[in-house]
């Protein structure tokens, strides 16, 4: 039997105005287990807390009931008080007689009556409380970053800076991501390569960072602080540690007609390739679908010219298992397919391009060496039409596009338009917009400059139709301000395609038990207060995998994710919430019902040997809860038919006791 002390708070007149606190403390004296009961003006004050501490010592109390304000207010306070008195902090129960009693009832008699019942329920519960100790688990002091774009790079650099080891897994042969493909960046117009490639070099040279390029995560097990991850290193048929990246093989490779994905198929590369000059790691990769040697054993030229002897046609996919304490998802985005937008004739004309293709066309390292030439005939375009919101802000019923605003298009279109007018003042540039959204530092100034200083023609309205006619593209559009329909003969049409999260992230989300929204963006733990954490402990989000973002925003989120990771890895041990589920193995059937409803994957099954009454043993499958992963929702306790699963702090018998006390 517990020795319970009851402390009724007046909260000045907040409680005492509607509840006869004296009567409450008197009435609760007679409850089972109660050996001491009193009331005081402000229980949460230092004097009130001291009163509790003294009473614990004087009356050898083992449990405390405080009848006061909401536990959401002061439960933590009184738990600390209990700890100071030498009690387990979880031997405290709060009866909420302010928010849920004195403040909502006017009559002294009903208020007092209800306060007594709430007090009785708390006493009944505390009688069944057991001391709880939060579980501890060690932390593997290494982080995994999935995705090697600017988000992943920045996160990895920041974590490494704090002294922790980081591995980057990137599915492409090089890190760099989308930013490596960009020409200039808004609103400052620095060249993307100039600011990104030094960071890529930093990553390569940082002793704390390992890069798994051309690799993917295939399995994730474990929990916060203790993830076991399997990484598949795809065979690139080149020994990474030996290859010097000299490029001799690339030059000699006879198979030169492979569409170059880095330039979005606007030119070709060889079967053995280095994606771009500043690739990290700067190592060649053989495309197994294009290489003659790998397909039919006829060639082998690259092996002959490789002075380092790095070519290995027999290389196999390799699986690596590693342990991590934290995982950062930085899987990024892709522009959506333009295939379904027939009205813009993307499939019919080479001169209708996406904005990302436009980036490559204007990039000095791109297929035209930075000269703005039409893809169809390599002539200089004189009239360019930019179309914004292509596939963004579509209603959900329109299956072609996305419901959300892609956020970055307004600014990069302004950039493209401005740069075009700057380099080629003879070009006429139209931008068709629905709204121009420029909420960022120096963003609106930038857009206004495009209009005012560079003479870009912004037209409020949308393009309805693009028709290729001879060498021209007939653009039919509306100008809503002038209230007329425009017909423009354009040489080039640039579509600001909506962006979507990388589709390969879907299976990853399942592996990580991290949730995704209807658009396949990763869900943050709280949209305002925990924007870089996923709901799964130990999994963090960086960059556009969480929602559309420009570079400055991505970098700041990457830093925020890194700081959360550092905060986690800096701990030697993690202490959990002690109010977690646990299974009574003797009663567990091993039926898997609990495992199926657990949102955190905290329940696994183990085969356990039981001694039977007749001294034989029997092996049974029983549930085992990982207290470091369990968040204590209690869903499993109801799914369990035998009642083997129970929740500490909110146990079946405790809630039943509360029900009984209230209904008595």
């Amino acid at each position: 039997m517990q020795r319970v002390g009851v402390f009724v708070c007046w909260c000045g007149s907040n409680i005492a105005g509607t509840v006869d606190v004296q009567a409450v403390s008197e009435a609760l004296k007679n409850e089972p287990g109660v050996v001491f009961s009193t009331n005081y003006q402000y229980m949460c004050s230092q004097a009130g807390q001291n009163m509790i501490i003294d009473a614990v010592k004087e009356h050898n109390l083992t449990g405390i009931v405080v009848c006061s304000c909401s536990p959401r207010m002061h439960e933590a306070t009184f738990r600390k008080t209990a700890a100071a008195a030498g009690l387990n902090p979880y031997m405290v129960e709060i009866a909420n007689i302010r928010e849920q009693c004195s403040w909502v009832h006017k009559d002294m008699m009903t208020g007092t009556e209800k306060a007594i019942i709430l007090g009785k329920a708390a006493v009944a519960k505390v009688n069944l409380n057991t001391p709880l100790t939060p579980g501890e688990s060690p932390v593997t002091k290494r982080a995994l970053v999935i995705g090697g774009g600017i988000a992943g790079i920045q996160t990895a650099l920041d974590i490494a800076d704090a002294g922790f080891e980081v591995d980057i897994v990137e599915k492409k042969p090089t890190i760099g991501g989308k930013m490596a493909q960009l020409d200039k960046t808004f609103p400052t117009l620095d060249c993307a390569a100039c600011i990104l490639t030094p960071k890529m070099v930093d990553v390569a040279q940082n002793e704390k960072i390992r890069i798994f390029s051309y690799s993917e995560v295939t399995d994730v097990k474990g929990f916060v602080g203790n993830f076991d991850v399997t990484i598949k290193k795809n065979a690139r048929f080149v020994k990474e540690d030996i290859c010097t990246g000299c490029g001799a093989c690339v030059e000699k490779c006879p198979m030169k007609k492979v569409p170059n994905e880095f330039n979005l198929g606007m030119d070709n590369r060889s079967a053995i390739y280095i994606p771009f000059a500043q690739a990290v790691p700067k190592v060649a990769t053989i495309d197994p679908n294009a290489c003659n040697m790998l397909k039919n054993g006829k060639c082998g030229l690259c092996a002959k010219v490789c002075a380092a002897g790095a070519i290995d046609y027999t290389q196999k996919d390799e699986y690596i298992e590693e342990k991590y304490g934290a995982i950062v998802v930085a899987t990024g985005f892709n522009p959506i397919s333009m295939e379904k937008f027939d009205e813009f004739a993307y499939n019919q004309s080479k001169d209708v391009i996406t904005s990302l293709e436009f980036e490559r066309l204007t990039n000095a390292a791109g297929p035209t060496a930075g000269k703005l030439l039409r893809p169809s005939d390599h002539e200089h375009p004189h009239t360019i039409v930019f179309v914004q919101c292509v596939g963004s802000r579509c209603d959900s019923c329109a299956e072609k596009g996305k419901e959300y605003c892609s956020k970055i298009c307004c600014m990069y279109t302004a950039k493209h338009a401005m740069l075009t007018r700057d380099k080629y003042p003879d070009t006429e540039v139209y931008v068709f917009y629905i709204d121009v959204r420029t909420p960022g530092k120096n963003f609106d100034e930038f857009y206004r400059r495009a209009v005012e200083e560079y003479g870009v023609k912004y037209v409020k309205g949308m393009v309805g139709k693009v028709t290729p006619e001879g060498k021209k593209l007939k653009v039919q559009a509306s100008d809503l301000i002038a209230n007329k329909q425009l017909h423009i003969d354009a040489d080039l049409v640039v579509l600001a395609a909506a962006i979507e999260p990388d589709q390969t992230a879907r299976p990853l989300a399942t592996m990580l038990t991290a949730s995704m929204d209807t658009n396949d963006f990763f869900t943050e733990a709280h949209p305002k207060l925990r924007p870089v954490e996923s709901p799964t402990a130990g999994v963090f989000l960086s960059g556009a995998c969480q929602g559309p973002k420009d570079i400055p925003e991505t970098v700041s989120q990457a830093g925020a994710a890194a700081s959360k990771v550092i905060g986690l890895l800096a701990k030697d041990k993690l202490t959990g919430n002690p109010c977690v589920a646990s299974s009574n193995e003797l009663m567990c059937n091993g039926c898997s019902s609990c495992e199926r409803v657990c949102p955190y994957g905290a329940i696994t099954y183990v085969d356990k040997e039981f001694r039977m009454p007749d001294r034989t043993t029997k092996v049974r499958r029983v549930a085992s809860v990982n207290p470091a992963v369990c968040q204590g929702c209690g869903c499993c306790t109801v799914a369990c038919p035998s009642g083997a699963m129970d929740l500490r702090g909110f146990a079946n018998n405790q809630i039943m006791a509360e029900v009984d006390a209230i209904c008595k």
């Binding site: 009205e343 919101c389 802000r393 579509c394 209603d395 019923c397 329109a398 596009g401 629905i434 709204d435 409020k460 309205g461 949308m462 393009v463 309805g464 139709k465 039919q476 559009a477 509306s478 100008d479 809503l480 209230n483 329909q485």
Partner: protein, 128 residues
């Protein structure tokens, strides 16, 4: 805002929610009859939304719409302007008792120039 009876009727008949419109103007950009119209498709949506129905009922634009449904096809928000035009057109027609037409009136209207389809569609509309 309180909706007028006429406005509600048109919204009900068309099954269109004009407040979904985000004023992109793609309907007007797609419209092949744009230059013939006094009120263009996007204006149609806007005027129905703001309850400005009377001018629409009187406008020639009603009969310039080809019902090609390009606006319906292209609208990113699923607003379906052509259905609104049709609803306003029907409202206008129903109001014009003078324009009512019965099967008996048809033979008199026939001549070599008149496409049969036009007679049939006129009959459909004006007999309602």
């Amino acid at each position: 805002m309180h909706k007028t009876y006429l406005q509600e009727e048109i919204i009900r008949m068309s099954g269109v929610n004009p407040s979904k419109c985000m004023r992109c103007g793609k309907c007007s950009a797609s419209c092949p009859a744009y230059d013939e119209m006094e009120y263009h498709p996007h204006q149609f949506v806007n005027m129905v939304e703001s309850g400005d129905i009377e001018p629409l009922l009187k406008s020639e634009s009603l009969y310039k719409c080809l019902s090609c449904f390009a606006c319906i096809e292209r609208c990113p928000r699923g607003v379906e302007p052509a259905k609104l035009v049709e609803a306003v057109r029907l409202t206008a027609i129903r109001k014009q008792g003078a324009n009512h037409m019965t099967a008996n009136d048809v033979p008199a209207l026939l001549d070599d120039e008149m496409p049969q389809q036009a007679i049939v569609s006129a009959f459909r509309k004006y007999s309602k």
